[in-house]
């Protein structure tokens, strides 16, 4: 019966080699969690930074969960995409981070990665854009034999998330 409010924003992203970025995000929870209101997933606008290299989205996240257990604490996952000058979109990075577990405001930085692919694919990516993408989006946070996945580091997604917890003390969880 505990409740969690996740209120915050996806500030933006930095460190990507591409410039026009947007981000698809989603929040994944375990079975014990019930979304009372808000949307689980979304997509930001494309930001083309004019000054500096950080892309700012300032995309709001506002979710209200009820939970009957701690398992499956919400985790955020991101797909950062870049849009090139032809308006084509390509993947720039996958990222994932847990929603903090202590109440208050948190500044999060979520590093991202992207699949490297074979050398042909790398070559193709360098010249004609596109790039390897995960076939299954949940690989971002699921643990398979990930050593087979060869990745390159992308930039960082910055988040500012405030957390309100309610009634956790009632069930012996101190926060």
């Amino acid at each position: 019966m505990a409740e969690v409010h996740v209120i915050g924003q996806i500030m933006g992203a930095s460190g990507f080699s591409e410039s026009s970025l947007f981000c698809k995000w989603g929040i994944h929870t375990g079975a014990a969690w019930k979304l009372l209101s808000g949307v689980r997933e979304g997509q930001t606008q494309v930001d083309t930074p004019q000054i500096g290299e950080m892309a700012y989205w300032s995309h709001p996240i506002d979710l209200h969960f009820a939970t009957k257990g701690l398992q499956g604490w919400p985790r955020l996952h991101f797909q950062v995409w870049s849009q090139d000058s032809f308006g084509r979109c390509q993947l720039a990075g996958y990222g994932f981070c847990h929603v903090p577990s202590s109440p208050g405001t948190h500044q999060l930085a979520c590093p991202t990665w992207r699949p490297l692919g074979s050398w042909q694919e790398q070559l193709a990516r360098a010249f004609v854009g596109g790039g390897p993408q995960l076939l299954h989006g949940d690989t971002i946070y699921s643990g398979a034999d990930r050593y087979r996945l060869h990745t390159a580091a992308g930039g960082t997604v910055h988040l500012e998330i405030s957390l309100l917890l309610r009634h956790f003390d009632r069930y012996g969880v101190e926060c």
Binding site: K34, K68, G130
Partner: protein, 1571 residues
């Protein structure tokens, strides 16, 4: 080691290559040291002993030197050195321990000692061998010889004791070292030795070359003859034979092998072992284990089933090259540009790929065709039978059953014979019994099968004979079919024996059965007999007793109860007779079985026969053949009921086969809903006829191209064909007999062989739409909630197939391989298909939960929050939700729960009328489903939806604004400025206002002076034709005759009421008042929800009522008149204009002149015609009746109406037509963007339908036609009135902001609700059926906006009909609400208005002029003859008069109650007398349609209610719900009169029209008694 040591050697003595090679060669020569040395050489060695001693010294020195060097370098030599003392100790044991192993190391070799050692060594070796060369010393001797020889040698010790000592040690050492048998010496060791020896040998090189021969003994290779070896091996080893072991050896004596598998038991798959290995094993076991424990009943080695699973149980450890797999797979995707389209897209992000379905149509075969000759019929039958025979033959069930029977019998035999000791006799008996019952069953089955086989064979032969006779009879052959009966000879004797044996076995079995049965029966008999006996005894005793009792108490007799029924004496069963059974068995055998010795008949059907050529055939047959030649066939492939492709046309072969062999690749996007083939036949040059439709099953997702089997799909057609030649026709009786008896009727039928499969893409990915896509489409949208069910159905059908297959293929239920299958089948067939659709991921979830699910779900707060976020209407606008559960009342949910409960319960309370209640429910459901469908589409926003961008001022705008500076400040004719639009998101209560600007009104009815009771006004019986002419007013203006205060004719004011808020203007004077006032009314959205969807569905109506303000002088005393005024203001309702809010919302503003809806009877008022005053204006105005008001209505701030979604709907229309219509629309929109052009519309099922399909003559109700049988125009009016009585329900309300759905006329009449289009379509259809020329007019009207009217051509002029009101207007009527015309739609064409003007006043309606009207179907695109979507005929049920009467009473009651409610502070009296008068009067009004009864009525009322001042009027409305009626009554404001002694009268009359269309009349009146 080796290399190092050689290295060491090099270090020690750097030698050139040459000597080294030499050395090596030398060692090679010395290699065979193991050979026994020749004694002579050793003797020669003795001579140089002293020399050797010297040499040894030298060597010793070299060796110590080398050793010291070695020690410095590496530790290996150390242990040897350390060990040397211990070796000294071992000296004594030297001889006794010859086998002791000592390190073999480099040692400077004394050739003599070496040879000595060798000698000893070899001697020892030879010792076991019997053939020692004669004269050779024995080992003992040799040993003794050497040892003895050693000590006494004087010179040695003399020369140098130290040296000798050292030599001794050396020798010992060496001896010890050489103990190791060099013969077997490992190559490595010898290598070492050799190398080092080589090093040592350097010393030899100094001068001992000549002595080499002395050191080497050449000996032959040690060899053991193969025979010896084999001999030896034979003695020691056992080699099992590879020969197969005969079974009897493996089994206990006199035991037949028993094969469990044949008995039908599952034995499992034995592991694969090669036959040879098995034989070897068996042979070995037979020798090793004579008890034969290792052999099973079947004589094979006992084995567990193959333990190897066919699949890996452990994830394969992959090598690097196969690395990435499964979910980690990445795919290179090109950079994609997202196309923004309003198309309905699947949400899954991935753009819908193209999927491919391959349909392979290989051919067609007719099993019957009209052109079949009689012979063909027989041939087809024969072929069919033969197929059946082949199928049966292949399955050979009889054989299988016979074998099974045999196996079972064997099993019983073995079970009886060899009783295994460890099994209890009980179990054996039980198994035997089981077997026996099994035998019985099997035998029965076998008999049946055999009989079937036999009859089939007989039938085949019979048909063949018939065919032969037919061929003979008609003297020609049509079919190449030829049946050959092959006789298979059988051994007569063996056969007979087998037959007899079989019969005997059967007889014995039957006998046994019978005896068993007999025994059982006997047992039963005995028990029952005993019972019976006992009973008899008891009975007798009782009787006796009774007799005694009767003697004692004669009266009790009757009371004696009979406790039991009389038992019948049981009859003993009869024993069975062997002869009888035998008789039976034999009879059956002859029937169902081949007779012994009878040859086996094997029919063989071949196509080897020859067909009689045409010239030898009779004429009828030739005709038939020619007819066949003329015929050709093709198949159409229909995907989702749309033709996607067709095969080539192929002629029909003489054998009635058509080969197509075409593969169609269907590129599809959605999951297919249906797949069908249509078989078309063309005869000669005539058009194709549809023979039959074959529905193909949509393949499962596992069926891929290349793997799909060719399947045959049968089809048949019900066409009736009679032919004038030999062909037998189809669906007509014919007979083979000459007398025409035994008639047959055959229908055209055949088989299509085809295969349907999913294609596989380039990269091996099957092109199958995902399952989630299966439920896309409108119909599926209804099933959205239970998508699983739709998938499940296909699975279920498959399940049945599966079960059938399992039954057919005789799956062994015990086989663990089949276990999951069996379970699945049992689950599916038992109907409890509970397959858990989940698996548990978080195993420990339960343990760590804070609360249970139930508790979580019980939380009221969470529920409220959830419902709010789901936008459930009741909770959508909750702003704040309490923090604690306890603060939330339970009753919050009550309404919601009630609604959920009542979703399927039709409640009649609100609707009174059940039919309308049902319709309302239905509409609700349609609405929900449509909305569901569009929810997805609505989520796609365009940039313009999200961003409002102010235009950056450019030079032209600046220039314009400069011009504006020069403009007049206050222009004489100001224009309305466009206002900023506001999106509806951030609005709240009170933000929105409705602005109503009432400009002026024309022709308001004026008060009429009270006519005296007896004056009968002349009633002008106006006919239809007169209406258009100016009707001369019969009433002369009569000023201030009756009105004491010298009032003007009328003092009208306007009251606007909206959402129960009322505003009114000031009072103006005269029949043509001008107010020019702006009224402001607040707007409240339902539930405070200002979203677009909610605003669109606002059903509220703006009532604009016109009242007359009447002043009554209530001064009671005439004397006071001079000093005071005491008047009361009364208001009399004159009429109203109703404008729905939704219209205002969509139009943004409404500006125009509207006809005031004036009640047909307005007592005390009449239309004033002041011809003198306004002559000029009148001539135009009086063209039409009625009063008008000019209004301007808008909403402040301006709201953005929801865009209707431009959707592409699926359609069944021809693709060409759709393209043409798109093109047409685009062209029209390009030329005249503001004119409405409609070619396709969406029907109620969400499919696009071409618009002309809606128009078709449809019969109006008979009832209406019979009213004015001769007057067409009157009938037309009546029909229009009927149509207008069907309630109006705008689509935009029901399908908020989505689309306009067109229902067909029958649907419309069933629903009894629709908007302009439906009304117009129905009216147009009626007019067409009345024989009028009628069109649908699509255009703009006020106040409706874009709408549909009906245009008719009367003699010489056009009439425009408003279908919703039933009014009609001439083309040149200025007050016609239709303001512009976009297009005309007829039953067979569409004409778009391409004239310069679009106002009906200024255009020409002659559609034949292509310059004025652009037609859709023209010469280039002829009208294809589209079938109508309308029904053939409308069926009207007579309305239930009783129900209408009941409804009438209830309505009256409700309205009366309401009026009383609205007057809470006053007493409401009802004047019954007046009410009854009014009630009588209302039917008259209905009959005359509200025309021209005023005067009669007035007179009558006056007559009856002479003493009352009466004000009231009848309201007329179509009936839909109660609420609009109440609103209408409320808006008249009758209840507002607060004169103390007022009385009211209210009467309701409902006139039922066919199809439950109800016309409601409400007469409300207030009466004030005159004093």
């Amino acid at each position: 080691m080796v290399s190092e040591k050689s290295h060491l050697g090099n270090q020690q003595e750097p030698v050139q290559e040459e000597p080294k090679t030499y050395l090596l060669s030398m060692t090679a020569r010395r290699g065979p040291r193991s050979l026994p040395p020749i004694p002579s050489t050793s003797r020669t060695g003795f001579a140089e002993f002293s020399m050797r001693g010297r040499m040894r010294e030298k060597l010793q020195a070299a060796r110590s030197k080398a050793e010291s060097a070695l020690l410095q370098e590496m530790p290996t030599p150390r242990p040897r050195r350390l060990r040397s003392p211990s070796k000294k100790e071992l000296e004594t044991e030297f001889g006794t321990e010859p086998g002791k192993k000592v390190e073999s190391t480099q040692q400077e070799i004394d050739s003599q000692s070496h040879s000595r050692v060798k000698f000893r060594d070899s001697a020892r070796k030879i010792k076991p061998k019997p053939q020692v060369p004669p004269g050779f010393p024995s080992a003992e001797e040799a040993y003794n010889f050497f040892t003895f020889n050693f000590d006494p040698e004087p010179e040695d010790s003399e020369k140098k004791t130290k040296a000798s000592h050292r030599e001794g040690t050396n020798q010992e050492e060496e001896e010890g070292e050489e103990e190791e048998p060099p013969a077997q010496g490992g190559g490595k060791e010898t290598d070492e030795e050799e190398l080092l020896n080589g090093d040592d040998a350097e010393d030899f090189l100094l001068g001992l070359d000549h002595m080499v021969d002395d050191f080497i003994a050449v000996r032959p290779a040690d060899y053991e003859s193969i025979h010896d070896r084999l001999q030896m091996e034979r003695e020691m080893l056992f080699i099992p034979s590879r020969q197969a072991v005969p079974t009897y050896k493996k089994l206990p004596e006199n035991v037949q092998p028993r094969f469990l598998e044949d008995e039908g038991l599952y034995t499992g798959v034995r592991p694969e072992v090669s036959r040879t290995n098995q034989n070897i094993m068996e042979n070995r076991l037979l020798v090793q284990d004579p008890e034969r424990r290792w052999f099973g009943d079947d004589g094979r080695i006992l084995a567990l089933p193959n333990p190897i699973k066919p699949f890996p149980s452990r994830p394969p450890v992959e090598t690097q090259e196969l690395s990435i797999k499964g979910e980690l797979e990445t795919m290179y995707k090109k950079a994609v540009k997202y196309v923004h389209s309003s198309q309905h897209m699947i949400r899954s992000g991935d753009p819908p790929g193209n999927f491919q379905l391959d349909i392979d149509i290989s051919g067609l075969l007719f099993t019957h065709h009209p052109c079949f000759s009689r012979e063909h019929v027989l041939a087809a039958k024969l072929a069919q039978l033969y197929d059946q025979y082949l199928a049966r033959h292949q399955r050979n069930k009889a054989k299988f059953l016979t074998d099974k029977l045999q196996a079972l019998r064997n099993a019983v035999q073995t079970g009886l014979d060899s009783e295994k000791p460890h099994q209890s006799p009980d179990t054996i008996q039980k198994t035997i019994n089981d077997y026996k019952s099994e035998i019985r069953q099997t035998r029965k089955l076998r008999d049946a099968e055999q009989e079937k086989d036999r009859t089939l064979l007989k039938t085949i032969i019979k048909v063949w004979k018939e065919m032969k006779s037919l061929r003979e009879f008609q003297r020609f052959t049509n079919t190449p079919l030829k049946l050959v009966l092959r006789k298979e000879k059988v051994d007569q004797k063996a056969d007979e024996e087998a037959y007899e044996a079989e019969i005997q076995v059967e007889i014995s079995e039957l006998l046994e059965e019978h005896t068993e049965e007999y025994a059982q029966k006997m047992e039963e008999y005995r028990t029952s007999l005993q019972q019976w006996k006992a009973w008899r005894k008891a009975q007798k005793a009782k009787k006796k007793k009774r007799k005694q009792a009767a003697e004692e108490h004669p009266y009790d007799e009757t009371e004696e109860p009979y406790p039991e029924e009389d038992l019948v004496k049981p009859i003993p069963p009869e024993p069975t007779d062997r002869a009888v059974i035998e008789q039976e068995v034999r009879e059956r055998a002859t029937q169902s079985r081949r007779r012994p010795g009878e040859p086996m008949l094997v029919p063989e059907l071949s196509l080897a026969g020859s067909i009689t050529p045409n010239n030898q055939c009779p004429r009828a047959e030739v005709l038939r053949r020619e007819d066949v030649k003329k015929r050709s066939l093709y198949l159409k492939v229909l995907f989702n009921n749309k033709e996607v492709s067709r095969t080539v046309t192929r002629p029909l072969g003489a054998d009635f086969r058509v080969h197509f062999g075409q593969i169609f690749n269907l590129q599809i996007v959605n999951w297919p809903e249906s797949l069908a083939l249509q078989v078309y036949e063309t005869i000669g040059h005539s058009g194709p006829t549809l023979l039959a439709e074959v529905f193909l099953p949509i393949p499962e997702t596992t069926v891929f191209t290349g793997r799909a089997p060719i399947e045959e799909m049968e089809f048949s057609s019900n066409q009736h064909v009679t032919l004038d030649h030999e062909g037998v026709g189809s669906g007509v009786p014919f007979s083979f007999e000459a007398d025409g008896s035994n008639q047959l009727i055959l229908m055209t039928s055949g088989k299509v062989s085809h295969s349907v499969a999913w294609a596989i893409g380039e990269n091996g990915i099957p092109l199958i739409p995902p399952l989630s896509q299966q439920n896309i489409g409108f119909r599926s949208a209804l099933k959205r909630a239970d998508a699983i069910s739709s998938i499940g159905t296909s699975g279920l059908t498959d399940m049945k197939k599966l079960a059938k297959w399992a039954a057919e293929s005789k799956l062994d239920p015990n086989d663990p391989n089949n276990a999951p299958l069996m379970q699945l089948i049992s689950v599916a067939t038992s109907g409890e298909s509970y397959v858990p659709d989940f698996f548990r991921l978080e195993q420990l979830q339960q343990e760590f939960n804070f609360v249970s699910d139930q508790e979580l779900n019980r939380s009221k707060r969470f529920r409220l929050l959830l419902l709010r976020s789901q936008e459930v209407p009741e909770f959508r606008n909750y702003k704040q939700i309490p923090v604690y559960d306890r603060e939330i009342m339970e009753k919050v949910f009550q309404d919601y729960e009630k609604r959920l409960r009542d979703r399927n319960v039709i409640e009649t309370k609100e609707h009174i009328d059940t039919h309308r209640a049902i319709v309302a429910k239905y509409l609700q459901q349609v609405r929900e489903s449509v909305i569901n469908r569009f929810l997805i589409a609505k989520q796609y926003f365009l940039l313009a939806d999200m961003i409002v961008e102010e235009e950056v001022p450019n030079i032209s705008i600046l220039g314009l604004s400069l011009f504006k500076l020069a403009e007049q400040k206050r222009p004489l004719r100001p224009r309305r400025k466009g206002r900023k639009k506001v999106t509806a998101q951030n609005l709240s209560d009170g933000d929105i206002k409705l602005l109503v600007n009432i400009v002026r009104a024309y022709d308001i009815p004026v008060r009429k002076p009270a006519v005296s009771k007896f004056q009968q006004p002349s009633r002008s019986s106006r006919m239809f034709s007169e209406k258009h002419a100016a009707s001369p007013s019969t009433h002369s203006p009569n000023h201030n005759a009756d009105y004491p205060l010298g009032q003007v004719l009328v003092r009208p004011f306007v009251e606007v009421s909206f959402q129960r808020t009322v505003c009114h203007t000031t009072t103006a004077e005269g029949p043509n008042p001008s107010w020019n006032e702006e009224l402001e009314l607040p707007f409240r959205a339902p539930n405070g929800d200002y979203s677009t969807a909610s605003l669109q569905s606002v059903k509220d109506v703006v009532f604009i009522n016109i009242f007359d303000e009447v002043l009554h002088d209530v001064l009671e005393d005439d004397r006071e008149r001079g000093s005071g005024i005491h008047t009361r203001i009364e208001r009399h309702w004159l009429g109203c204009v109703k404008i729905p809010f939704s219209t205002i919302y969509f139009q943004a503003r409404i500006d125009g002149t509207f006809k005031i809806d004036i009640p047909p009877v307005l007592l005390g008022y009449s239309k004033e015609r002041n011809m003198i005053l306004e002559r000029g204006f009148d001539s135009v105005r009086n063209l039409s009746e009625g009063s008008y008001i000019t209004l301007f209505i808008t909403i402040e701030p301006q709201l953005v109406p929801g865009e209707s979604v431009q959707e592409k709907f699926e359609s069944q229309e021809d693709e060409k037509l759709l393209q043409a219509s798109e093109k047409f629309q685009a062209e029209c929109a390009f030329k005249f963007p503001n004119r409405q052009c409609l070619t396709t519309v969406i029907d109620i099922n969400g499919k696009t339908v071409f618009i002309t399909r809606y128009l078709k003559p449809l019969n109006p109700p008979e009832e209406l036609l019979s009213v004015y049988p001769n007057n067409l125009q009157a009938t037309a009016e009546l029909v229009a009135r009927y149509v207008s009585l069907i309630p109006f329900l705008p689509d935009t309300v029901s399908f908020a902001g989505i689309c306009d759905l067109w229902s067909t006329s029958d649907q419309f009449l069933d629903l009894l609700a629709g908007d302009e289009e439906e009304h117009a379509v129905l009216l147009c259809n009626y007019f067409l059926s009345l024989g009028k020329k009628a069109w649908l007019v699509m255009g703009n009207a006020i106040p409706e906006g874009p709408t549909a009217y009906v245009l008719t051509w009367e003699q010489g002029h056009y009439l425009i009909w408003n279908p919703c009101s039933g009014h009609f207007y001439g083309q040149f009527d200025t007050f016609c609400p239709l303001k512009n015309v976009g297009c005309l739609i007829g039953p067979d064409n569409i004409w778009f208005n391409i004239q310069r003007y679009d106002s009906p006043l200024r255009i020409n309606f002659d559609v034949t002029k292509p310059k004025l009207w652009k037609s859709f179907f023209s010469r280039s695109l002829p009208y294809p003859g589209l079938s109508s979507v309308q029904p053939e005929e409308l069926i009207y049920q007579r309305s239930d008069k009783a129900a209408a009467a009941e409804l009438q009473d209830r309505l009256e009651k409700i309205l009366k109650e309401k009026i009383m409610d609205w007057r809470p502070r006053h007493l409401t009296r009802w004047n019954r007398y007046c009410t009854s008068t009014l009630r009588h009067f209302l039917p008259l009004l209905e009959k005359s349609q509200g025309d021209d009864v005023e005067d009669d009525h007035r007179a009558e009322l006056l007559k009856q209610l002479g003493d009352y001042r009466f004000s009231g009027f009848p309201l007329h409305m179509p009936y839909s719900e109660v609420k609009p009626l109440i609103d209408a009554v409320y808006s008249t404001g009758v209840h507002n009169i607060d004169v103390p002694n007022v009385e009211f009268a209210l009467a309701v009359y409902i006139h039922p029209y066919p199809k439950n269309v109800l016309s409601v009349w409400i007469y409300v009146a207030s009466l004030i008694r005159n004093r």
